[in-house]
């Protein structure tokens, strides 16, 4: 059982009241949350310091314009804040940040995290087409019933890690039939408890109803299998990959929005990957023709090699791809299978080393000849 807070307002109002308490009491200097940033209702992450500005915040809005893990990394890369800040983010965003912290691209110092059991987010083009507002009732209905809302990101449909591992505070959303009238805020850690200390609300002992979560888990697992099987059919060697990635325009958007891809100069944009005239000569001698600019498949395979061990399955890559390549399904599928051989779950434990920087004296005999 964990200590928890119960606020008798709907879940979003409840968390906003909690955030207001945190700012007004001075316990935190700033709040990271989704916020409506103009009259048309465009939603973006914001750093809020004035409690009044929390009015327009929409912490649970089902959209992820940018992965919050990357944002926190940018925020803390050049130095942690002197006073605490709190960030409201989805489980995959938090896992992304944990993976970045392992790579020394951010720090948890003075950063507290609030996450939730996650029903998924809608793709960016639905936000752009202003279709999210009218879908909200259907969305919350599905969340309450432990169902997968229609039209959420492909990555979300098959996501089986929708319960946060490391958040200081978790808000109980999935399967919770009462989210219209009460907000249950679970205080997982000492930090979480100290944040809630002094709040004028009902404290109780509670834990997440795993039965309700398992209902959604099963549905998501079925979806995931469907997605993976579908893409597997297209994986027939190099020809299959060329079919899938042939229309890639090399914008590298997938790499930029990926929370794990943090390199200031990506290998595939560096001089290492540029072709000299002699490279073209030898390629042309072999093939008679070469796609230019070269290296489309090299980029995709190389990026897979670099990040699949830590892929958290957020799906930001799908959203940004101008030509609709199912990047997240491929990366997640390959990611899960490489993570399995190392028994590794990215973002689960910030103290767990990335498998490629450690080793056992005896292992993987099956890969040797």
């Amino acid at each position: 059982m964990t200590k928890a807070l119960k606020i008798n307002k709907n879940a979003e109002q409840g968390i906003k009241e909690f955030l207001r308490f945190l700012l007004e009491s001075g316990k935190v200097k700033g709040v990271f949350s989704l916020k409506k940033i103009n009259k048309e209702g465009a939603v973006a992450y914001s750093l809020i310091t004035d409690p009044k500005d929390l009015e327009d915040s929409v912490p649970f809005y089902p959209v992820m314009p940018v992965t919050a893990g990357s944002l926190l990394s940018r925020f803390t890369l050049k130095g942690s804040p002197d006073k605490p800040v709190v960030a409201v983010m989805r489980p995959c965003e938090l896992r992304g940040f944990v993976e970045l912290v392992k790579r020394e691209q951010g720090s948890f110092e003075n950063v507290f995290t609030i996450s939730m059991t996650c029903g998924g987010v809608y793709p960016l083009d639905m936000a752009v087409d202003k279709k999210i507002e009218k879908n909200l009732p259907k969305y919350w209905d599905a969340v309450k019933k432990s169902e997968i809302p229609a039209d959420v990101r492909t990555a979300c449909k098959g996501c089986t890690e929708f319960k946060p591992y490391t958040a200081d505070i978790t808000v109980d959303l999935v399967g919770n039939k009462d989210i219209d009238k009460q907000c249950i805020i679970l205080l997982n850690t000492k930090n979480g408890e100290s944040l809630a200390d002094g709040m004028d609300a009902e404290f109780l002992e509670k834990k997440l109803d795993t039965k309700k979560l398992d209902v959604l888990l099963d549905k998501r697992a079925v979806e995931k299998k469907k997605l993976f099987d579908e893409i597997d059919k297209k994986m027939n060697g190099m020809d299959g990959l060329i079919d899938i990635f042939g229309r890639c325009i090399g914008c590298h958007g997938c790499m930029r929005v990926c929370p794990i891809c943090y390199c200031k100069l990506c290998e595939f944009e560096s001089p290492d990957s540029e072709y000299k005239p002699s490279n073209y000569n030898s390629e042309l001698k072999k093939r008679g023709g070469v796609r230019v600019p070269p290296g489309t498949m090299y980029f995709q395979l190389g990026r897979l090699t670099h990040i699949s061990i830590s892929c958290v399955g957020c799906g930001a890559c799908d959203d940004v791809c101008p030509v609709g390549i199912p990047v997240s399904t491929i990366f997640k599928k390959v990611g899960e299978s490489v993570q399995k051989i190392f028994n590794y779950i990215p973002g689960k434990d910030v103290k767990e080393s990335i498998p490629l920087v450690t080793f056992e004296k005896e292992e993987f005999i099956e890969f040797e000849e």
Partner: protein
């Protein structure tokens, strides 16, 4: 010179300076027979091998890629080959998942005194690749 119509694979072999390259040398000085399919590249340690080298070789049309280093525990630099093993496992898994002929990649531990092992691995790998046939990637344009 008689033209050999049979397919002779091109297998890129990354050999670590202290063990497997010396082992290959020994195979040579011992006049052990093995097919002329291996194109050796000497690196100081098998952990120098970035998985991207292997991907580049594969995309470049190599019929096979062999990574050979010191036996685990005997690395000249103490722990290099432990990392190699993990990276190779990762890459091979990726190739498996993408159905990209993972059998064209091989990892082997060959010490400086194992000239025979080098010749055996080279021969067996070449046979295996011959059965798989020429890599279809070498003619592809839209990579």
């Amino acid at each position: 010179m008689v033209e050999d119509k049979e397919f002779m694979p091109k297998i890129l072999a990354f050999l670590c300076n202290w063990c497997s390259y010396a082992g290959a040398d020994l195979a040579g000085t011992s006049r052990l027979k093995y097919p002329p399919s291996i194109l050796p590249i000497r690196v100081m340690c098998s952990s120098r091998i970035d998985p991207l080298f292997i991907i580049k070789a594969y995309l470049g049309g190599a019929d096979g890629v062999l990574v050979a280093g010191c036996h685990p525990g005997d690395c000249h630099y103490e722990k290099g080959n432990y990392y190699t093993r993990r990276r190779f496992a990762l890459l091979k898994k990726i190739f498996e998942e993408l159905n990209m002929e993972p059998d064209r990649l091989m990892l082997s531990w060959i010490s400086a005194s194992e000239g025979h092992k080098y010749a055996r691995v080279a021969t067996e790998f070449t046979e295996k690749i011959k059965k798989s046939g020429e890599s279809s990637v070498k003619n592809k344009i839209f990579l």
